[in-house]
């Protein structure tokens, strides 16, 4: 198939939109993995909660999109606090395996609960009026909402990166990642930091959920397939590496976008192929540090 330059550019832009979701989600995973050493399988479920809460807010209480964009992450963040305090707290000392399994179980519970109330085929809501319509970029007509998705997620991602890599708080986080007990012995309230980190990661997932809902169908199972891909992104980027997960998320979105043009059948497998190749060459991922 031949494809024109404008066509290629527009596909690139669309890839970037998906990449934005990957970036926010994998960023949340990376932050949580970093400090809690937990592979948060529930991330997909939290993403879904963000979207469904927004739907609920809009439908039951007629709250508008912008309010929910802030409120849903907060609510999910609070939910994250509960998860951390009640469940995750007990497993930090154990192997990664247990965190993975616990959050997997949690995912099944959350998804099951929402499914029994809302069924599986999904609920929809539309982009806010302000972002309705589209802009002609010359090579393509880009819906304004998609542009907003890219902008919003880039801002959130880089702000997070800045805090973690360049501030004192970030140094505590990084140190806490390695040896939380010792950091606490230096006088830092690590348990609080851990709780807030999980809450923040959860809120990021919810934020992505709110952003995603007008683009993809909201349903209780919406996080399930995404999460496996996002895992791959995190692994490719390097477990726990902040910048790694952001850049890899965006990059893979774009690669996936190109695959959709040149060999669409493989577009959801390409991520895994890349992952295998990357891990063969760089065992700790593109940006990961080998310990």
């Amino acid at each position: 198939m031949t494809i024109s330059l404008p066509g290629l550019l527009s596909q690139l832009l669309l890839g970037l939109v998906n990449g934005s979701f990957y970036a926010i989600l994998s960023l949340g995973l990376a932050v949580i993995f970093g400090l809690l050493n937990v592979i948060n399988f529930a991330h997909g479920a939290l993403f879904m909660m963000g979207a469904i809460l927004t739907w609920m807010g809009m439908n039951y209480f007629e709250i508008n999109y912008w309010v929910m964009l802030a409120a849903a992450p907060v609510i999910v963040g609070v939910f994250g606090v509960l998860i951390e305090k009640l469940l995750l707290r007990w497993i930090y000392k154990l192997d990664h395996l247990y965190g993975l399994l616990l959050t997997l179980g949690l995912t099944l519970l959350i998804e099951g609960a929402f499914r029994s109330v809302y069924g599986v085929s999904g609920l929809g809501y539309d982009a806010p009026d302000l972002l309705d319509g589209s802009t002609n970029l010359g090579f393509m007509v880009l819906p304004n909402y998609r542009a907003w998705v890219v902008a919003a997620s880039l801002v959130v991602c880089f702000a997070t990166w800045f805090v973690i890599e360049k501030t004192k708080l970030g140094a505590y986080l990084r140190a806490g990642t390695e040896n939380p007990r010792l950091v606490e012995a230096f006088g830092i309230n690590v348990p609080l930091m851990v709780t807030l980190t999980y809450a923040f990661g959860a809120a990021l997932a919810a934020f992505a959920g709110v952003l995603a809902a007008p683009v993809i169908q909201v349903s209780p199972l919406m996080g399930q397939n995404l999460i496996i891909v996002v895992f791959a992104v995190v692994v490719i980027g390097g477990m726990g590496s902040i910048m790694g997960s952001i850049l890899t998320g965006l990059g893979l979105g774009i690669i996936e976008g190109f695959t959709k043009v040149f060999y669409p059948e493989a577009s959801s497998t390409v991520v895994f192929v890349i992952m295998v190749i990357v891990l063969l060459i760089r065992p700790a991922g593109l940006f990961g540090k080998e310990r």
């Binding site: 066509g7 527009s10 596909q11 669309l14 890839g15 939109v17 998906n18 099951g112 499914r115 069924g119 599986v120 085929s121 999904g122 609920l123 929809g124 539309d126 982009a127 589209s134 393509m140 007509v141 819906p143 909402y145 998609r146 007008p214 683009v215 993809i216 169908q217 349903s219 199972l221 919406m222 397939n225 995404l226 976008g257 959709k260 043009v261 669409p264 059948e265 493989a266 577009s267 959801s268 497998t269």
Partner: protein, 374 residues
């Protein structure tokens, strides 16, 4: 002594649970109750289970119920893997098997059995129905968005065939992986093809997301979208704003006539949702099965099958006959989704564009590979 037990095994918790699921069980129970709860002097019993879309659960449940509980009729499906697995068990154990939810035409074609009845629709009927009718209405140039596995490919191939037969052309197709969440890229490719009709040869979440993205990118303004497998529950969840104008084929719609409205209202009172065509078919199939048992005066599968295939069926759901290959051939409807303005009440979603006679849409004798119908 010959007690009728119906074993209903379907997806109650996963991807397809809105299409049939609990509503299906309700519909079957309604049929049993309407029949009087008894046949051949014995109470009728309904057993139901969730197969979670796993063929091994579906088949072993069916097998077990037949072997240990004496189930006389197996009912179920919704996904082709489970449906085919159950059909094999029913054949081996000689039990009547009804499938409504699964679309695969293999059930009555390559893999047909003397005991399988495919009651509601199959992919061939959907493809021929939508494809043929749309071309007839002037939609000559097609572009497909196809789920890249057997089901999607079959839908695309069947539709392409009829489109070409009717003088239309297919300008291209893009194959996407199952459960691709973002369709914008595929849609841009479709748009660039300048085709008139966007054929969606996919199902469930993939269809929903395709339609949604088509609306977002304004593609529904330049192209007409034809869904090859769309359920009422999909439209309900997407909303009219996203789906308006969508063409597709269905075997039943609640608002066709007084009879359908009357039955659907009863269903609505129980489930708080209008029935999908599959759920309506569940009722009708059960009713006709029970009638056949009564007429044959036995639950013996061979005799009941003979009875079922010998009578004309005519009820609120459909008018037609069960053929030798097991397909229930009945009329289908080409429908279009109303615009929000046209919709007058809740669940008022579809308008019928054309009635598609059963003998034109289902597999023909020339086409079949089913040994039972040669």
């Amino acid at each position: 002594q010959e007690k009728v037990k119906i074993g209903f095994i379907t997806d109650m918790s996963s991807l397809y649970s809105d299409v049939e699921g609990k509503g299906g069980a309700t519909a079957i129970q309604m049929a049993i109750d309407d029949f009087g709860g008894k046949v051949l002097g014995q109470p009728i019993e309904l057993m139901s289970a969730d197969h979670q879309n796993k063929p091994d659960i579906a088949a072993s449940k069916a097998r077990e119920w037949i072997d240990t509980a004496g189930v006389t009729m197996v009912f179920g499906g919704t996904n082709s893997g489970t449906a085919l697995a159950m059909a094999k068990v029913a054949e081996e154990k000689k039990r009547v098997y009804f499938n409504n939810g699964a679309g695969t035409s293999a059930l009555t074609n390559e893999q047909c059995t003397p005991y399988t009845i495919h009651y509601a629709y199959d992919t061939v009927a959907l493809a021929k129905g939508t494809g043929g009718a749309v071309v007839d209405q002037g939609g000559k140039n097609w572009f497909f968005i196809t789920a890249d596995y057997a089901f999607g490919q079959a839908l695309e191939a069947d539709t392409t065939k009829i489109v070409k037969e009717k003088g239309g052309t297919v300008l291209g197709a893009v194959r996407h992986p199952l459960n691709a969440s973002d369709f914008s890229s595929f849609l841009l490719q479709a748009q660039n093809s300048k085709a008139q009709i966007l054929g969606l040869a996919n199902a469930g979440g993939d269809t929903i997301n395709s339609i949604k993205a088509a609306k977002e990118f304004g593609i529904n303004k330049t192209m007409k979208t034809a869904g090859l497998l769309v359920f009422l529950s999909d439209i309900h969840s997407l909303g009219l704003k996203n789906t308006e104008g969508l063409l597709h084929t269905t075997s039943f719609y609640w608002d066709l006539n007084d009879k359908t409205r009357a039955w659907s209202k009863k269903f609505f009172d129980k489930m708080k949702r209008m029935p999908t065509d599959v759920q309506a078919a569940d009722y009708s199939a059960t009713m006709n099965y029970l009638k056949a048992v009564e007429a044959a005066k036995t639950t013996d599968a061979d005799k009941v099958m003979a009875q079922l295939k010998s009578v004309k069926i005519d009820d609120f759901y459909g008018k037609g006959q069960i053929r030798a290959d097991g397909s229930f051939v009945h009329d289908m409807y080409l429908v279009q989704v109303k615009s929000p303005a046209e919709s007058k009440q809740p669940w008022d979603y579809l308008k019928v564009m054309k009635v598609l006679p059963g003998d034109q849409v289902f597999t023909t004798k020339a086409e079949t590979k089913c040994a039972l119908w040669k």
